[in-house]
Symmetry: C2
Subunit: 218 residues, 2 copies
């Protein structure tokens, strides 16, 4: 299925995307998702769902990996474990929707996005963990922003589902940032600004394959 | 803290362990947990909790790893994702109890148990997956059996918690076995019997370090 839209036309149901996102999330990200990505997404509804399922699963895995490395940090353990559970629930929901729509779950190569951020990670703790958490915050925030941007153009069922995701995940990025700030007495604002800028580059520059976190079509 | 009990003395609260386990679970395992392990556990309450937390986390990780390898099996995806969420919730609960009791979460080496089962895993699917699922069933069943066996000797708070675990996890092993049987038209009864026998050996033979899934003290 491929629907190339000359111009983006909201389908007209009453779900207002902009109202869903916390103001702090808009302020955190350096740029909104470009319209070209939205068009790309609407032209690739199957890949959108499959890659969305992948993203929920990977978000859960990343959160879980921290449960192994940082056993002495009880707030991190409880936040990351809760977050992993929530992402897994969303994974199940996406897979359920895919089944209902006859979308076959298959392996997709990862987009360049997460690796494009992780390549800048420092090697030793606490710097490494701070970077992991900042990157986690950005991935969460961008995901939510994209859910919200997509909602006006989706069918009612998918729009409703994405609305619940935005509501439940809209503040995850703040949990990540809180945990990142807890790792040091120093300010991490410059480091956050660094990753925010890298993220915006990945979101606004030409990309070869459509995925949930792609840039814009070449 | 180390309390060597000459003989096991139930603390007398009204939680009956035997009634908690499904009859099918007793039938699945080849042997009950030996009294020597129970004594060992009650003499090592801190390690019991820490290793219990580790086990919940590992159970969630194992379930999650299957979400990556077997994307075309929707029942497996939903069962394993749900199971991972449940284990993570229990992980959070154990960590909460540890905090309340002043037990410091630290890394512990793994017991020989899981590796002692996994060393017999076949290499190629579907045999590999069948073995993973049978081993998963055994670990789940043994964990529940041990929770139930411990309950009469625990303080009220821990006994109540373990009772909820037995109730919610008591049938997980059946999910694993159901998924294992779905992988082939052939009977897997012989393979199940093989792993059940290996598991009983690990449970009843002398072991060097106390862990949740240890054998008996040397």
């Amino acid at each position: 299925m491929s629907i190339q839209l000359a111009a983006l036309q909201p389908v007209g149901h009453s779900l207002q995307a902009e109202d869903l996102l916390p103001e702090s999330l808009h302020q955190f990200l350096a740029c909104p998702t470009p319209d070209q990505w939205l068009q790309w997404a609407l032209a690739n509804p199957d890949i959108l769902l499959i890659d969305h399922a992948q993203c929920e699963k990977k978000a859960a895995s990343t959160a879980m990996s921290l449960l192994y490395r940082y056993v002495s940090q009880s707030l991190l353990l409880s936040k990351m474990s809760q977050l992993a559970r929530e992402e897994l629930l969303h994974f199940e929901q996406v897979v359920g929707l895919m089944e209902k729509r006859g979308v076959t779950y298959r392996h997709l190569t990862a987009s360049r996005y997460a690796e494009g951020l992780r390549q800048h990670m420092r090697s030793n703790d606490p710097e490494r963990l701070i970077d992991v958490l900042i990157i986690g915050a950005l991935i969460e925030a961008r995901s939510c922003e994209r859910f919200a941007r997509l909602i006006p153009y989706l069918d009612e069922e998918l729009a409703r589902f994405y609305r619940t995701l935005v509501k439940s995940e809209g503040r995850h990025f703040e949990d990540y940032l809180l945990l990142a700030r807890q790792q040091t007495a120093d300010s991490i604002d410059d480091r956050i600004a660094f990753f925010v800028a890298r993220e915006a580059e990945l979101i606004t520059s030409p990309d070869t394959a459509f995925r949930f976190h792609s840039g814009v079509p070449v």
